[in-house]
């Protein structure tokens, strides 16, 4: 009965251990139970022994399960209850092992040097065998080990109690109590104090029961945990769903990908399609796939965090924008990468809005540019007219020279060369105009600020003459290049020039001075546009606000768009007032009233 109960418990916990190799307590318990079953067998053998020799053999063999029980209970206390002194544990195991060795080498067993005869004992209404013989003095070692075992168990139980884990302490106490009972019984039986057969297995069964109770609770708790885990997972999925998050997890050891329903959908999986990392990558837009793959791999190896925005093409030809975030978690025991937990969010709406905004911004910048160019239309027409006028006059002069006798061929040749260069100049004006009118996405290329200043001055040339403005330039030699969109930066400069012109409209012609300067300091390049005009409002910043204008027909977007262009270039645009008004005559006429500074970072 004891044996079958123990075998059943052993089988159950062996099964548990086989499913979870980390559950050492279950293995130890199984071994204890098996040993107790074996012990029960040996005891039954001893009770039924007919000869002293048979009894002695049974007695000898029963030390093996005893040894196993000692070692496994010590192990159980150490592993499961996480209590007990290690040195005591080692001493108990060492002494017990020594007892086992002596048991097989000295006399007939650890108890008897020699069993002289058997006697019949009445036990539970039956007649069983007991031994009478010469006692082995080395039994003391076994008894010391048993005593230390008791001390170890009691000490461990007390430690657990002190730790406040009352239930575990009770289990430890029970184990200690029945161990004590077994030991006392053994001492009494083998000291022939009482006439009873050696029967430790029922006590051990109680020990096993106590251990079993503890472990069964553990099993039940695990089951409960799994239920609450599932509930918590459901709650989390629900919350994630409500927030629009998809969640997914990848276990590296088993290469298994799991995802919540929304996660599956966001990753591009159809319902019922098996989840896997290669399939997940396959669902990503080909342009983004490589980057995602690389990022995932890197995060997996470095156990870091990974974030990516990528597209998942949809059957209708559009695509979904996904932002994915994940982190690799290490295995608790080995510290190796084990699980990657990830969250996905559909950001298509945000991306679409961003793109629409970008397009609107481009549109506005373009519109502002056309407005600016409109201001320079006279200037541009003149720039184009000039070479055409030169070409006409040259051509007509040539006609006359060729009509002479003899024709002046040398001069005619010079004229043709001039016509060619003037024509190229006209072409250049048209090219510049077309590029300014062009509607394209901004592209950043290395540029020289001086070239931008000179180009802008070329466009504004006739306008400035027409307005009677004297232009001064102070351009820095060999300034480093900046990364910028040539057209947009020209637009900014044209606007600044135009604003300066407007500010000086009320000045007498002799005091209309425009100064364009460039300078560089470290990695920063500055362009300054100064004028001798009417100065700035007291709140100089206000000129950059949208719809700020001093003109009746102005939209007031020029400078605000200029600032947005400069900001997009990682630069700064600000205004500086110089105090004294620029209207004064004489030498001070060229003293600026206001300067607009434009700073851009150099290309590194």
């Amino acid at each position: 009965m004891v044996a079958s109960a123990c075998l059943t418990l052993a089988a159950i916990h062996l099964l548990i251990w086989s499913m979870n190799r980390a559950a050492w307590a279950n293995l130890l318990f199984s071994l204890s139970a098996l040993a107790t079953a074996a012990l029960a067998g040996c005891e039954y053998w001893m009770m039924r022994a007919q000869t002293p020799a048979e009894y002695a053999t049974a007695l000898r063999w029963h030390h093996i399960p005893i040894w196993v029980i000692f070692v496994t209970t010590v192990g159980f206390v150490l592993v499961h209850l996480r209590a007990g002194r290690r040195w005591l544990a080692w001493t108990v195991c060492a002494l017990r092992t020594l007892s086992l060795l002596l048991n097989f080498t000295v006399g007939q067993s650890l108890q008897y040097l020699e069993i002289t005869h058997l006697r019949s004992i009445r036990f539970l209404g039956e007649s069983v065998s007991g031994a009478v013989g010469v006692r082995n003095p080395l039994l003391l070692i076994g008894q010391v080990s048993a005593l230390l075992w008791l001390v170890f168990l009691a000490d461990a139980a007390a430690a657990v109690w002190r730790r406040g884990e009352r239930r575990q302490a009770a289990v430890g106490g029970t184990i200690a109590f029945f161990a004590l009972a077994t030991t006392v019984q053994a001492v009494l039986v083998f000291g022939q104090v009482i006439a009873a057969p050696f029967a430790a297995s029922p006590f051990f069964l109680a020990v096993i029961a106590a251990m079993g109770y503890e472990l069964t609770r553990e099993v039940l708790r695990t089951a409960q945990l799994s239920v609450s885990l599932r509930e918590s997972e459901e709650r989390m999925t629900l919350a994630a769903d409500a927030a629009g998050f998809g969640i997914w997890m990848w276990e590296s050891a088993r290469n298994r990908l799991w995802a919540s329903e929304r996660g599956r959908h966001q990753l591009g999986f159809t319902s019922g399609e098996p989840l896997s990392i290669p399939a997940m990558l396959q669902h990503i837009h080909p342009d983004d796939r490589e980057a995602v793959h690389r990022g995932l791999k890197l995060a997996g190896e470095a156990m870091g965090e990974w974030r990516a925005e990528y597209r998942v093409p949809l059957p209708d030809g559009t695509y979904r924008w996904i932002v994915a975030r994940s982190r690799m978690y290490p295995d608790a025991a080995s510290g190796m990468p084990a699980r990657m937990l990830g969250v996905t969010v559909d950001i298509t709406a945000r991306k679409t809005a961003e793109q629409a905004l970008e397009m609107q911004r481009d549109e506005l910048v373009h519109l502002a540019r056309i407005t600016t160019l409109n201001e320079f239309s006279n200037s541009l027409a003149h720039e184009l007219n000039q070479p055409l006028a030169i070409i006409l006059t040259n051509a007509q002069a040539a006609q006359r020279l060729l009509a002479q006798t003899p024709p002046d061929l040398a001069e005619a040749r010079d004229i043709l060369a001039d016509i060619v260069s003037e024509d190229q100049r006209a072409g250049e004006v048209i090219r510049r105009l077309r590029s300014l009118l062009k509607h394209g996405q901004s592209q950043l290329l290395p540029l020289s600020v001086n070239t931008i200043v000179e180009d802008a001055l070329r466009i504004a040339h006739s306008e400035l003459i027409g307005r009677g403005i004297t232009v001064h330039t102070a351009l820095a030699a060999s300034a480093p290049k900046i990364a910028g969109d040539r057209i947009q930066l020209q637009q900014v400069l044209l606007n600044l020039i135009l604003n300066a012109c407007e500010a000086m409209a009320a000045n007498p012609p002799a005091s209309r001075h425009l100064t364009l300067a460039s300078a560089h300091n470290g990695g920063i390049i500055r362009i300054s546009v100064s004028d001798t005009g009417c100065g700035l409002p007291s709140d100089a910043e206000s000129i950059f606000k949208p719809f700020y204008t001093t003109r009746k027909d102005g939209l007031g977007l020029g400078l605000s768009i200029c600032r947005s262009i400069v900001t997009a270039h990682h630069g700064r645009l600000w205004a500086e007032a110089h105090g004294a008004a620029g209207h004064s005559l004489g030498a001070a006429a060229a003293r600026p009233a206001a300067t607009l500074h434009l700073e851009l970072p150099a290309v590194t």
Partner: protein
């Protein structure tokens, strides 16, 4: 045949100056070209016979400003304006201020040459006029005080008798003075004498009825 005189050219665009020079030289004109008003003013002699082909839009001193300065200094230099984008008010202003012509670039050679020829002719005419006036002034200065008085009364259209009464002399004396005046002023008829007086800007004697 090109008209007499120098064509002064002033445009801030060197290419334009070069082309215009070629065209005018091909027509046999003497050309002096400048690319800034300052350079032109430095070398210009007011008595030189010629005309100015002038670009309106120039930095610092522009065409209109230069015209003003020349007028102020009393220079009689006919100006042919050239402009890239001439508007009507500007051309009206220029013509009112005495410009010979106002042409828009690109300018046709025939138009330009016609304007230049006309400007030079006017310059020549003005020169002649100036010389004539100078001669008359010289002659007028040789008259005695009495002769000048008599001349004033005659050109005012008074009969000898009336003039004699107003000057308090005999009619014969007036006749003698009148002959001396005609002779000294180098005129044949009363009409010529009146024109000479006009040219000299002489004042007519005060009307006694106004006293």
């Amino acid at each position: 045949m090109p008209a007499e005189g120098t064509v002064f050219l002033l445009d801030d665009e060197p290419g334009m100056v070069k082309a215009l020079t070629r065209l005018l030289k091909a027509e046999g004109y003497a050309v002096r070209a400048f690319t800034s008003a300052k350079a032109f003013l430095e070398s210009y002699q007011p008595q030189a016979l010629g005309c100015l082909v002038l670009d309106v839009a120039m930095p610092e001193i522009d065409g209109m400003e230069l015209q003003r300065r020349l007028t102020r200094s009393g220079a009689l230099l006919p100006i042919v304006f050239l402009t890239g984008h001439g508007d009507i008010p500007m051309s009206v202003q220029a013509i009112k201020a005495g410009a010979e012509d106002f042409l828009t670039k690109p300018v046709n050679d025939a138009d330009l040459l016609r304007a230049v020829r006309a400007a030079l002719q006017r310059a020549a005419l003005q020169c002649e006029l100036i010389a004539e006036t100078a001669l008359l002034q010289r002659r007028h200065s040789t008259l005695t005080v009495r002769e000048r008085e008599v001349m004033a009364h005659i050109v005012a259209g008074e009969l000898n008798k009336v003039a004699a009464a107003r000057l308090g002399v005999g009619e014969h004396t007036i006749k003698v003075h009148r002959a001396r005046v005609m002779e000294k002023m180098g005129v044949e008829s009363l009409a010529d004498l009146v024109r000479a007086a006009e040219r000299l800007g002489l004042e007519t004697p005060a009307d006694p009825n106004e006293d």
